[in-house]
């Protein structure tokens, strides 16, 4: 036992029980018993002081003599990031947005006139990424924390964080999500470097392998598929599913053979995903088989004079249908036969229908009466097919005119389905359609539809939304009845809409008695909208490297 341990032991037990060793330096080996005797009765009073003296000496000596330790192995440095650094004002803005991130949204309807910074962060990130800036290193932890808290931020935040963000995430278990999702940051070998590709494919992390597959496929679809085939049977079921799902980008007829094989996969989800992908290839054999089955169920009936559609739903789900991905068991509350019919029509290529209905165009087909209450079922299946096959004419026809009352539209009365159909239409047409819908039906049902429009909103759409808000105010509503749309407008209105808003924000809270306080709340809401638009304009200017604070509207 060395002198210091001796002191600690004595201190723990107490000098009454364990008189201390003499001061360090006079201590000789084997002197234990003798020294204790020497510290006997006469010295007992001073024993604690002697111990503390010795301990003080030791403590200061140890601290003064501290030496460096050996260095551990350095981590592999973060890969270089060739993107441009942010301009100063944009850098400061990012600091503000990340600092405002943690501010909780106030409960209740009233939010004052200040913009919600957390809502602007996604947009800021998107624009920064478009400009090709790299994230400032010191902002990476806050950025990763923000992405951890909000999954909707992740793709943009991780892209912005870049290779260094991914490197950092590898050191902190709290940021593991970035390694799973971080396709942006992986450094991939050249797609033509067969050996390196092979190596990464066999030893890489899952995220790296997914990214590698995408890269190789982009350069040479056949090589990508060959890579996937090479290990397909040894992959875990959930990995097979993810790999298969990643084929969605750049799907082509060349993938058909592989997907056909996957129809016989062990995993049920793998099979159904393969079937879904095949049905999105209108020329595939599966699509052809489904077209045959669907056509045998849906036909044109002329016997009653005017043409009408007659539906005869399948009576069984045979082995062929099962193999082609039809799910045999309906969810609770749905009939088996209509469930099977829906899946057949959804997976059949839309191109097979004009021939089936005497050369009619989609609009004409949709306007045909349908016998025996099958209309809803049939149209809903066509909606799903249009979305899956990204078919613009069918989507347009299924949506019908925007001003038509929602319940009587040709395709579907479900807003979620409509939002999906809208997302197939070109940007401009989409905005016009939603503008027409808002003008005809107001804002109360428009939220989902507004969400699929391109940002910033095109002029007619922005104008329609602002008009509708103004009308809602005149009707005596409170602004928080529209807080969802308001929030969207803050993020999506074009800064040019500021001019139209200016007069609304300034409008005095005159008919105060009409709806208690509503006028003031509306003016506040419009002022907040306006200040958010100004802030977004500054954000864009800063990121573009222009001086900020430019006039808006």
């Amino acid at each position: 036992m060395d002198a210091w341990e001796e002191l600690v032991t004595a201190a723990l037990l107490g000098t009454d029980r364990r008189p201390p060793a003499p001061p360090a330096g006079e201590d000789g080996p084997g002197g234990g018993g003798g020294t204790r005797a020497a510290a006997g009765s006469g010295a007992v009073v001073d024993a604690p002081a002697a111990l503390l003296d010795a301990a003080a000496l030791h403590t200061v000596r140890r601290r003064a003599g501290l030496l460096p330790g050996p260095a551990a192995a350095s981590p592999e440095p973060a890969p270089a990031d060739g993107r441009r650094p942010l301009p100063g004002p944009a850098r400061r803005r990012l600091g503000l947005l990340l600092a405002g991130r943690s501010a909780p949204a106030p409960s209740g309807g009233r939010r004052g006139v200040t913009p919600d910074l957390a809502e602007l962060l996604p947009q800021w990130l998107a624009v920064a990424n478009e400009h090709g800036y790299k994230a400032p290193a010191s902002a990476l932890p806050a950025l990763l924390d923000a992405a951890r808290a909000r999954t909707d931020l992740r793709p943009q935040a991780l892209a912005f964080a870049g290779p260094r963000g991914l490197w950092l995430a590898g050191l902190n278990p709290e940021w593991k999500f970035a390694l799973r999702a971080g396709r942006a940051g992986v450094t991939l070998p050249d797609a033509g470097d067969g050996e390196a590709v092979r190596g990464l494919w066999e030893e890489g992390l899952f995220a790296e392998r997914i990214a590698l597959l995408a890269a190789v496929r982009a350069a040479d679809p056949a090589a990508g598929l060959a890579l996937l085939r090479s290990t397909w049977t040894t992959e875990r079921a959930e990995d097979r599913l993810m790999f298969l799902d990643s084929l969605r980008d750049g799907l082509s007829g060349a993938d058909e053979e592989f997907l056909e094989e996957a129809l016989g996969d062990r995993g049920r989800n793998v099979r159904s995903t393969a079937a879904e992908l095949l049905s999105a290839l209108p020329a595939s054999a599966l699509a052809g088989r489904m077209a045959g089955r669907a056509a045998s169920c849906v036909s044109l009936d002329r016997t009653e004079g005017a043409a009408a559609i007659v539906v005869e739903a399948p009576h069984e789900c045979d082995a062929g249908m099962l193999r082609d991905g039809v799910a045999p068991a309906p969810p609770a509350g749905r009939g088996q036969r209509s469930w099977w019919l829906g899946q057949l029509v959804e997976a059949a290529p839309l191109s097979c229908w004009p021939a089936r209905f005497g050369g009619r165009a989609p609009e004409e087909i949709l306007s045909l009466p349908v016998a025996d209450d099958w209309r809803g079922e049939l149209h809903a299946a066509w909606c799903r097919a249009a979305v899956r096959q990204r078919d613009v004419p069918w989507s347009r026809a299924l949506l019908g005119p925007p001003a038509a009352p929602p319940a009587t539209g040709p395709g579907t009365s479900s807003l979620a389905e409509r939002a999906k159909l809208l997302s197939i239409l070109p940007d401009g047409e989409r905005a016009d359609w939603v503008a027409g819908f808002v003008a005809a039906h107001g804002l109360s049902e428009a939220f989902q539809l507004l969400g699929v429009c391109a940002v910033p909103w095109a002029e007619p759409l922005g104008a329609a939304v602002i008009d509708a808000l103004d009308i809602a105010r005149d009707a005596g509503s409170y602004p928080w009845s529209f807080s969802g749309v308001m929030g969207l407008a803050e993020r999506c209105l074009s800064p040019e809409a500021g001019g139209q808003l200016e007069s609304l924000a300034a409008q005095p809270a005159a008919p105060e008695e009409a709806s208690p306080g509503a006028g003031g709340y509306w003016s506040e809401a419009f002022r907040r909208l306006l200040s958010t638009l100004r802030l977004r304009a500054s954000m864009h200017a800063e990121l573009a490297g222009r001086p900020s604070g430019e006039p808006v509207g």
């Binding site: 037990l13 000098t15 601290r63 460096p68 260095a71 600091g95």
Partner: protein, 443 residues
């Protein structure tokens, strides 16, 4: 130069103000804003009919707002500074309005007057030196009685054993700490409170408790013979006991780089530490300021700027404590970090400083060309060449600044300023080679 949002937010007295200030940092509620002559001003629309009038004197910084908030700076001042940090309003964008100009003039007039007084050394001198001497004598006697009592308490603890002291809990320590407050020895009271918390501090506590008991004992003994100690050491002992030491050194005018600013709270008292590095003198100075009862300390400097100012060192050979005197201009941007050394040099600097002040926990140093490295037992800072390292201290490992440091480094050498001591290194600010003018705060 404009401060960054981080620099502004570091001035906030608490999290709630930080959040409230962030929300006001946009043009929305503001009107009549302007900046120039080292100040920013504006009108902020609140819930009432008249907007609040907010002015910030950037050379202080000092704040003035007509709002009723007792926070300092208030959310309006923070919001205004954030707005300004975001590029609005443009410098020299308008005339200083009367209400702002008046306050600025008064404030700057007062500052000039107090500086003049400070250099003359006049009114601060006690009116009756004889009475002051008698008061000092009475206090010294009380402290002496206090140290003797503390010695008896330590002796009792050591006689019965630390293991027994652990079982008796915090109560007896709390009682002794209260006695030290009565004895007008706040330094000893603080020490005793820390002794009481050591048994609950995790594995290895007996060693730590013995070390700290021993150093407290050393301080008691030093006080009891303070008259026979050499002057600098005697001054250190008085400061450690908790006797106020007036700043009576020669003021040092220099371009001081603001390295770090951080607060810690002990009960109701908030202590703010600001580390400065003198460009020409090479000195490092610590400014301490205090805020009682939930108020933030008044002195606040934005980290990462250079101020042209005079600083008066306080006596006490060990601590590099000083007072900020005259500031000659508004803060300027920094171009390069302070010069630094290796981890071995940092430890030997700390070791040498212990000669003058054996109670030193740590010493301010700048490490150049070091790489933060994660290990199984926490993180270390290692020389980029030379293979030597220092562990990061426990508190440093628990702070978000650790990850900013790692991010800034990216596995490559950086310059790091911090406190180097027997518990390891606590990083407070860092600079990368890519952006040597950007100070990244790590607290």
């Amino acid at each position: 130069m404009r401060w960054t949002a981080d620099q502004v937010l570091a001035l906030a007295p608490d999290d709630a103000s930080r959040r409230a200030g962030s929300k006001l940092g946009t043009a929305g509620p503001w009107s009549g804003t302007g900046s120039g002559d080292g100040a920013v001003w504006g009108l902020c629309r609140g819930s009432g009919s008249t907007p609040y009038r907010t002015v910030v004197d950037l050379t202080g910084p000092g704040y003035r707002c007509s709002c009723p908030s007792r926070k300092f700076p208030c959310k309006h001042a923070l919001g205004l500074l954030l707005l300004w940090s975001g590029g609005e309003p443009a410098a020299g964008s308008s005339e200083v309005p009367g209400w702002a100009g008046q306050w600025l003039e008064q404030r700057r007039g007062r500052a000039a007057a107090s500086n003049a007084r400070g250099t003359a050394g006049g009114p601060d001198a006690p009116a009756d030196p004889e009475a002051a001497r008698r008061r000092a004598g009475r206090r010294a006697a009380r402290i002496t009685a206090g140290t003797e009592e503390l010695e008896r308490r330590l002796a009792d603890v050591l006689r019965g054993g630390l293991a027994a002291a652990e079982r008796s809990g915090y109560g007896p320590w709390e009682e002794t700490a209260a006695r030290m407050v009565d004895a007008q020895a706040p330094g000893l009271a603080q020490r005793v409170r820390e002794l009481g918390s050591i048994p609950g501090s995790g594995p290895g506590w007996p060693v730590r408790l013995l070390e700290e008991c021993a150093l407290t004992h050393l301080l008691d003994r030093a006080w009891l013979s303070v008259d026979r100690l050499p002057d600098p050491l005697a001054a250190t002992v008085r400061t450690r006991i908790g006797l106020p030491a007036p700043a009576d050194g020669t003021p040092v005018r220099d371009h001081w780089l603001v390295l770090a600013q951080y607060d810690s709270s002990e009960g109701r008292l908030t202590t703010r530490r600001i580390w400065l590095h003198g460009r020409t003198s090479g000195r490092t100075a610590l400014l301490l300021s205090f805020g009682a009862a939930g108020r933030a300390p008044e002195l606040a400097l934005p980290v990462g700027v250079v101020i042209d100012a005079a600083v008066t060192p306080r006596p006490g050979a060990g601590a590099p404590r000083a007072d900020l005197d005259t500031r000659f201009s508004a803060p300027a941007p920094l171009d390069a970090p302070p010069p630094g050394g290796s981890v071995g040099e940092a430890l030997s600097v700390y070791g040498s400083a212990l000669r003058d002040d054996p109670w030193l926990e740590s010493w301010p140093v700048t490490l150049a060309e070091v790489v933060p490295i994660p290990t199984d037992h926490g993180w270390q800072l290692a020389d980029a060449v030379g293979g030597e390292s220092l562990p990061l201290s426990g508190p440093a490992l628990a702070r978000p600044g650790l990850w900013r440091l790692a991010a800034l480094s990216g596995g490559r050498p950086v310059t790091v300023f911090g406190e180097c001591g027997h518990r390891g290194f606590t990083p407070l600010a860092a600079w990368s080679a890519d952006a040597p003018g950007e100070t990244v705060p790590l607290h």
